[in-house]
């Protein structure tokens, strides 16, 4: 049985439908990448998975339980943690307090503690008492990831963690992923950086206009197929 899966997941914002019957599955311990252009529905999918958006109960199941209609605190307490798009650190809290609040709703024992997160991202230890928003973009991203890890989740959702960051910084952040995977967590990343997504994932899904247009293992998919799935049949050629 897959760890997390969706069944014909739909979502709308008022009159605007963002997701049209999405079926994806996530197995234990695997890293899934979801790629697609802006507006494809990737973030809507993440918001549905994390409980920020409410859906039909049966449209999302986690370890066999129907969690589609649960709200974010309930989803989070079951072990699905989110690194939200734009990082969304709490400005009134210091770096350390931002990390600590990550385990507010779920006090699970496991690998991740303050100390082990500081070991993963050493620069944060020096800045632990600074206001979270005083850090650079890359460091903030580390805090956001660390914050999600503090609840020792079984599923980690990462929404656009490379957005707005220099390639060097993105590399450093993704360098931490193997260690995260070692602890057994399954990861879903949403990425616009296709190369990075292909490098780090076991399987990818491609989305366009609210639908899955392609799925498979990175090694099995060729560039043209991804291109078509990403941009559509009559899209422009990439330079």
């Amino acid at each position: 049985m897959p760890l997390l899966e969706t069944h014909a997941l739909t979502a709308s914002y008022g009159d605007f439908q963002a997701l049209f019957g999405i079926d994806i599955r996530l197995e234990e311990g695997e890293t899934l990448a979801i790629i697609g252009a802006n507006g494809a529905g990737k973030t809507t999918l993440m918001r549905s998975l994390s409980g920020v958006l409410k859906n039909e109960p049966g449209s999302i199941s986690y370890r066999g339980e129907a969690i589609g209609a649960l709200d974010a605190p309930d989803v989070m307490s079951r072990g699905i943690a989110m690194v939200p798009e734009g990082r969304r650190l709490f400005p009134s809290l210091t770096v350390e307090e931002n990390l600590l609040i990550g385990s507010y709703g779920r006090k699970a024992t496991g690998t991740w503690t303050l100390e082990s997160i500081y070991a993963l991202f050493p620069v944060l230890k020096e800045r632990r008492r600074n206001s979270a928003t005083a850090l650079s973009g890359g460091q903030q991203q580390m805090v956001a990831i660390g914050r999600a890890l503090m609840s020792n989740p079984d599923v980690l959702l990462c929404d656009e963690i490379s957005l707005g960051l220099a390639p060097v910084v993105v590399r450093d952040i993704y360098a931490a992923f193997p260690r995260i995977r070692e602890t057994g967590a399954a990861i879903i990343i949403v990425e616009q950086d296709i190369a990075q997504a292909l490098k780090v994932s076991n399987r990818i899904y491609c989305m366009m206009e609210g639908r899955i247009t392609l799925s498979g293992k990175p090694c099995d998919l060729d560039r043209d197929a991804i291109h078509k799935a990403y941009f559509g049949a009559d899209g422009h050629e990439l330079a």
């Binding site: 605190p73 989070m76 969304r88 009134s92 809290l93 600590l100 609040i101």
Partner: protein, 287 residues
């Protein structure tokens, strides 16, 4: 006129106003809610204390100690079931619902207790005084001021050193992301109002023992609380204390010049601050 005495009185009065204001400041800081029934809730708490004193023959301080958890529960329920429904982007519903609540509380108290003026007797403490150098200060005002400091210190410790305090600040920053951390904003808000009601109970104790009160005394207390918060600046509890002291000082000095001018002097001080520093003297939060 003994200036030193007047100023001392003013500062101590500031303690009472800071107690009025602290709960308001806390609730506004966390959920951007201004409860127009805040003053009436202080009066309500005073009546609860009065009931406990007259029905059970308790000392007012003991009665307040018992009333505090009752008020906490009342505040929790009020926020969770009524006021949480009004929170959202529109500022109209919370304003109008709390205004309606203010009218309901006042008239409920009028029906229950009549319009008679009341006082909570604290026995010998009421007139006891202590001499501090050239001036004499009352023991009750000292206790009031001391309680204000204690309340603010405790609240600050709660907000900056505890897990629930982190939850308060996170929720106030970003409700949605707080949810992703497993924080339930509805409960956090209820908790905040409950805490505010505990402070309100302390304020009620010192209000009731200091002066006469009746069911319609609420709105004036709301105005003083509000003035103290604005003068001090949004988001800072110590600022609220400063605001209370300035307000108390202005009122006492005005009263010393002409007793009819006491309240007016306070309002004028408030308007003066508003004129030069619209965000208060020590603002911390960004709205």
């Amino acid at each position: 006129m003994n200036w030193l005495d007047t100023i001392a009185q003013g500062i101590l009065l500031g303690g009472l106003y800071a107690l009025f204001a602290a709960g308001l400041s806390l609730v506004f800081g966390i959920m951007r809610l201004v409860n127009l029934a805040h003053g009436d809730l202080i009066v309500f708490a005073a009546f609860v204390i009065l009931l406990l004193v007259s029905l059970l023959g308790l000392h007012p301080f003991v009665a307040a100690f018992i009333a505090a958890p009752l008020m906490f529960a009342a505040g929790w329920v009020l926020q969770y079931h009524l006021l949480n429904r009004t929170l959202g982007k529109d500022i109209l519903p919370p304003l109008l619902v709390t205004f309606g609540l203010s009218i309901v509380i006042q008239n409920g108290l009028l029906e229950g207790f009549t319009a008679d003026s009341r006082r909570i007797s604290a026995g010998a403490l009421e007139t006891a005084s202590v001499s501090l150098g050239p001036i004499n200060v009352g023991v009750m005002p000292m206790l009031t001021f001391g309680s204000a400091i204690l309340a603010i210190v405790t609240l600050n410790q709660l907000i900056y050193r505890t897990s629930i305090g982190r939850a308060f600040r996170a929720t106030s920053d970003d409700v949605t992301t707080a949810g992703l951390m497993g924080i339930r904003p509805q409960r956090v808000f209820a908790m905040a109002t409950g805490l505010a009601m505990v402070v309100v109970t302390i304020a009620a104790l010192f209000l009731g023992t200091r002066a006469n009160f009746d069911p319609t005394s609420g709105p004036a207390r709301l105005i003083y609380a509000f003035e103290a918060v604005i003068i001090g600046g949004l988001g800072s509890l110590w600022g609220t204390l400063a605001g209370g002291i300035i307000l108390g000082g202005a009122q006492t000095i005005g009263a010393a010049i002409n007793p009819e001018w006491q309240i007016l002097a306070g309002h004028l001080a408030f308007l003066l601050v508003l004129l030069f520093k619209p965000r208060g003297l020590f603002p911390r939060a960004v709205d």
